[in-house]
């Protein structure tokens, strides 16, 4: 019991240490230091989550049962790494340009951002990987049981506590950032440390076995030769199938895809890892056979899966045993953490979020912060997946040999391979092809590998296994299509993957992809030729504000603002909302995709921007050979369109100038006409005075006074013109002061009626005029004089009357002038405020500038003058804004 307690304490201290390291790494990364965090070595070490507890403990057991065959599990991934130039280089490039978050996301993005496909991939991944997580729980519990008194050890409780601990660690470090593309330094560094721990542990046990228990390499070779596994022949078909399926799983396992592609920063990491990771695998497998052989010698009949632990214990090497235990624990924890993280990203992005969004019924225009929803759904998914693993472990009873569950998971996720590889290399691959291939492969895997794994009498009865369903012998799970005698694993891998592949190709050839699918296909297959371009968006419907609101909800206010600001800067409009151009929408969609996956991001942007438009430019990028020529001509066309636009703008400007010139000519001719009339009479009368010598004195006086009055009129006209031009040019200086409205009206009344020549009666209500205004008193008086004198001059009534009424509104002061005359005909009301406009037959004493000047003045004073439509007579309304504290400019 004491040793069990020690084992648990060692575990807890180790986990606490990992916490500290992860925290320190996150702090370092947050400070911007620690470039080593994204070095090739850390990347290589993070790939080591491929080596789970299955490979740590199980490889020895596997070797003890089947000899050299265990090594195929490592040869497959080595082949993939050696061939990095072909597949991985392309995958990581696609991952970076398309901002891929998971393998489901990549397959969905490739096949037209189809969410159906993403859901299928996610479903298969969950079903395939859950047993694998169960396997890790089983191996941790099993290794704990080694340290305990077998009778008292409760595997259920131990598994439950392990599950809870793993879930907690993953939740704490895996969901700190929403952006799955962001490197999660805490987790990565914890995994790298665990990679080193498990390597050292296995090497230490190996060294101890070779040099401690045996007498060096030569002795070990002799013992291997003599042992029962030394004579085991290699099964060719199994060797090839297992190597192949391990290679496929290395690419397709969600957790491997996560560390290989999603967490990848640059090609350099991959380039180094291409030989460093196979070296790591060599080190991990170097001592497997020696440990197995020595284990079989010393511990015949014991569980070979635990030789790594039990061998040191037989020699009373407790420290070494604890180290080995830590190695196994590391393998299990790192695998569970990354696998649940990768699966949770898929579940949350492709299942939870779409359901949540559609349940809201508003698509992208939901209210509130979506980030919290995404994070919460990801956390719940992590918990769910880890506990699903736990329940699988309890259900399966934890009895099956470790290796068989691992292989089943490998074959399950390998079903993604045709869609993945076909998708990135073959433009003709379609969504239906991928869907049907995956479905067929999955069903065969389920039927011939997964369900039979529960054993005869488990899910499938012994009779079903032997006879097939309803006696259909060609459907026997281990002898499909009547082909018997194959190894069950080879049989399942062979049939599921080959039929998956052929269905995928055949259906792809028969179906037709939609435009988005074709475009995405071209983008992804030709990622090295034109990376960085996605499908475009039609711009009309997208409003920058809507996009901003949506982006804030997913990316958070700060990141969204930064994104929009940088785009505005790029569009050379710093400080403003950027134009929602096609490029910007693509960038935004990609940013969102890094948080919620391609399909959801696409749907969200589509909500706001309307349907995706594929521009001519992008279609051209799809075409291959003729693309260059076409693009060139397209650019020419764009340039010519731009020239046409410029020409049209110039034409507009020219029309405006012509209109202005016409206006100026009309004004000049009117001015000359106005000036000419008084000048003509002045000239005529002065000529009479000069040339006629026999004029009566009264006539002389009369002519001189005509000349005089015409001069006055001329002066007044020039004054008015000057006044108007000053007002129009805005050069007028206002002398703002406070005054009583009644005083101003008094002054105006006196000015008009002073000489007593007018018969106009003015009706006023002084009790309403006791208001103070803050304005240019003289100018306002000028306006009032003008209106009153107009009434005095033009009112046609026998007994002309002018009623001045004042009313104070909320924000304005109305002063209405209404006379009892004939009024102004409706047709002329629109022009009375124009320059030189006179109403009807006039006596010619006015130049028609008075009301134009009034209007200009009122504009300067921040008010208006307008014609007031009254039942009888002519009315004008002068409106001053905010009477009490008028801020007239």
């Amino acid at each position: 019991m004491a040793t069990l307690n020690t084992a648990i304490s060692v575990c807890l201290i180790y986990v606490a240490l990992l916490f500290l390291i992860a925290f320190a790494a996150e702090r370092t990364a947050a400070r911007g230091a620690g470039r080593w965090l994204s070095s090739s070595f850390v990347y290589t070490l993070s790939l080591s989550i491929y080596c789970t507890a299955w490979t740590f403990y199980g490889a020895v057991g596997y070797a003890a049962r089947s000899g050299l065959e265990f090594v195929t599990i490592y040869l497959g991934p080595s082949l993939v790494m050696f061939g990095w130039w072909w597949v991985l280089r392309k995958l990581v490039r696609i991952g970076r340009t398309q901002r891929v978050t998971s393998i489901a996301d990549l397959i969905s993005a490739r096949f037209g951002k189809s969410n159906t496909l993403a859901i299928c991939v996610t479903g298969v991944a969950v079903i395939g990987v859950t047993p694998y997580i169960a396997l890790q729980l089983q191996s941790v519990t099993l290794s704990l049981s080694v340290f305990s008194d077998q009778a008292e050890f409760d595997t259920g409780t131990a598994a439950l506590w392990t599950t809870l601990g793993l879930a907690l660690f993953t939740l704490l470090f895996g969901t700190r950032s929403l952006n799955a593309q962001e490197r999660q330094h805490g987790i990565v560094i914890a995994i790298a440390v665990e990679a080193i721990v498990k390597l050292i542990a296995l090497l230490a046990v190996g060294v101890f076995v070779v040099w401690g228990m045996a007498e060096g390499p030569a002795d070990i070779m002799a013992r291997i030769d003599a042992s029962e596994i030394g004579a085991k022949a290699i099964d060719g078909p199994r060797w090839m199938s297992l190597t192949f399926v391990a290679a496929a799983a290395f690419l397709c396992l969600p957790r491997m895809f996560h560390v290989l592609v999603v967490e990848n920063d640059n090609d350099r990491q991959l380039e180094r890892a291409s030989f460093l990771f196979p070296l790591y695998l060599i080190a991990m497998s170097l001592f497997v056979v020696p440990i197995a052989v020595v284990g079989l010698e010393y511990l015949p009949g014991e569980n070979p899966d635990l030789f790594v632990l039990t061998l040191p214990l037989t020699q009373n090497q407790e420290t070494l045993a604890f180290l080995a235990f830590l190695g196994g624990f590391s393998s299990a924890t790192s695998m569970v953490i990354v696998a649940s993280l990768a699966l949770a990203t898929m579940v949350s992005n492709h299942i939870v979020m779409p359901i949540w969004l559609s349940s809201k019924g508003q698509g992208a225009s939901v209210s509130g912060d979506v980030r919290q929803v995404v994070l919460r759904s990801r956390r719940i998914s992590i918990g769910l997946i880890i506990f699903l693993g736990y329940f699988y472990y309890r259900l399966s009873g934890g009895s099956a040999a470790l290796a068989s569950i691992g292989l089943i998971a490998f074959a399950g996720v390998a079903q993604f391979l045709p869609a993945l590889i076909g998708g990135i290399f073959w433009r003709g691959a379609t969504r239906f092809g991928a869907l049907s291939g995956l479905t067929i492969g999955f069903l065969i895997w389920l039927w011939s590998m997964f369900l039979p794994s529960f054993g005869a009498g488990g899910v499938m009865s012994a009779e079903l296994l032997a006879q097939g369903p309803w006696g259909l012998s060609w459907l026997r799970p281990h002898a499909l299509f009547g082909i018997t005698g194959l190894d069950p694993t080879v049989h399942a891998i062979w049939w599921s993957l080959s039929l998956n592949f052929f269905t995928f190709v055949a259906v792809s050839m028969l179906t037709f992809p939609d435009p988005l699918e074709r475009l995405q296909g071209a983008q992804i297959v030709n990622v090295f030729e034109h990376s960085g371009k996605g499908q475009g968006w039609t711009l009309a419907a997208a409003e920058a504000e809507d996009l901003m609101i949506m982006a804030q909800r997913i990316l958070g206010p700060d990141d969204a603002k930064a994104l929009f600001a940088s785009e505005a800067l790029r569009q050379r409009a710093p400080g403003q909302m950027p134009e929602p151009t096609s490029e910007f929408l693509q960038t935004l969609e990609r940013e969102l995709a890094a948080s919620v996956g391609a399909a959801t991001a696409h749907a969200m942007v589509a909500q706001i921007a309307g349907g995706p438009g594929i521009t001519v430019k992008e279609l051209i990028a799809v075409a291959d050979e003729s693309a260059q020529i076409l693009e060139y001509s397209n650019q020419l066309e764009a340039k010519s369109a731009e020239l046409t636009r410029t020409a049209a703008q110039l034409k507009d400007a020219n029309t405006k100038l012509t209109q202005l010139s016409v206006q100026k000519d009309a004004f000049l001719s009117q001015i000359s006409h106005e000036l000419r009339t008084p000048m003509t009479s002045i000239r005529a009368f002065s000529e009479i005075l000069r040339d006629t010598h026999s004029l009566e004195p009264e006539e002389q006086t009369r002519f001189a006074s005509i000349i005089h009055s015409e001069t006055i009129r001329l002066t007044r006209l020039l004054d008015d013109l000057l006044d108007l031009s000053v007002l129009e040019n805005g050069q007028v200086t206002l002398h703002l002061q406070e005054g009583k409205l009644s005083d101003i009206l008094d002054r105006a009344e006196q000015a008009v009626l002073a000489n007593g020549s007018s018969a106009l009666q003015i009706m006023r209500a002084p009790e309403h005029e006791q208001l103070h205004v803050y304005t240019d008193i003289d100018r306002l008086t000028q306006v009032f004089i003008n209106i009153i004198s107009n009434a005095s001059k033009y009112c046609s009534a026998k007994q002309p009357e002018l009623t001045i009424s004042v009313s104070a509104q909320d924000t304005a002061l109305h002063i209405d002038f209404v006379d009892n005359g004939a009024g102004i005909p409706a047709s002329e009301r629109s022009v009375i405020f124009e320059k030189f406009s006179r109403v009807g037959e006039s006596d010619g004493s006015g130049a028609g500038l008075g009301l134009a000047i009034c209007q200009e003045i009122m504009q300067r004073l921040g008010g208006t003058i307008s014609y007031l439509d009254v039942p009888r007579g002519t009315g004008f309304r002068v409106k001053l804004n905010s009477p009490a504290k008028t801020t007239l400019q």
Binding site: L68, L75, F82, G83, W85, I224, K232, S274
Partner: protein
Amino acid sequence: MTDRPAPSATLEKRSYRKRRLLDGLKILPIFATFLFLVPILGSQGAEHRLPSLLAYLFSVWFGLCMLCGVLAAWVSEPTPSQPPGTEH
């Protein structure tokens, strides 16, 4: 293609060598597959005992790692006359 001055013979040779090394890198996985499949060729006969197979497999494996490392390092090393991405 452009009016770039004709590269000297040594540079030509280097870029040629580099392209051939890239070919090597591309063919490497096929070569590795072949080597990894060798153990099953003689699996029927009894002359292939496990120790010799182990020695073969691990040395081939290690050799491939070294080869891959050397090729990758050479290929990624920039050559003055040939900017990356123009190997065809």
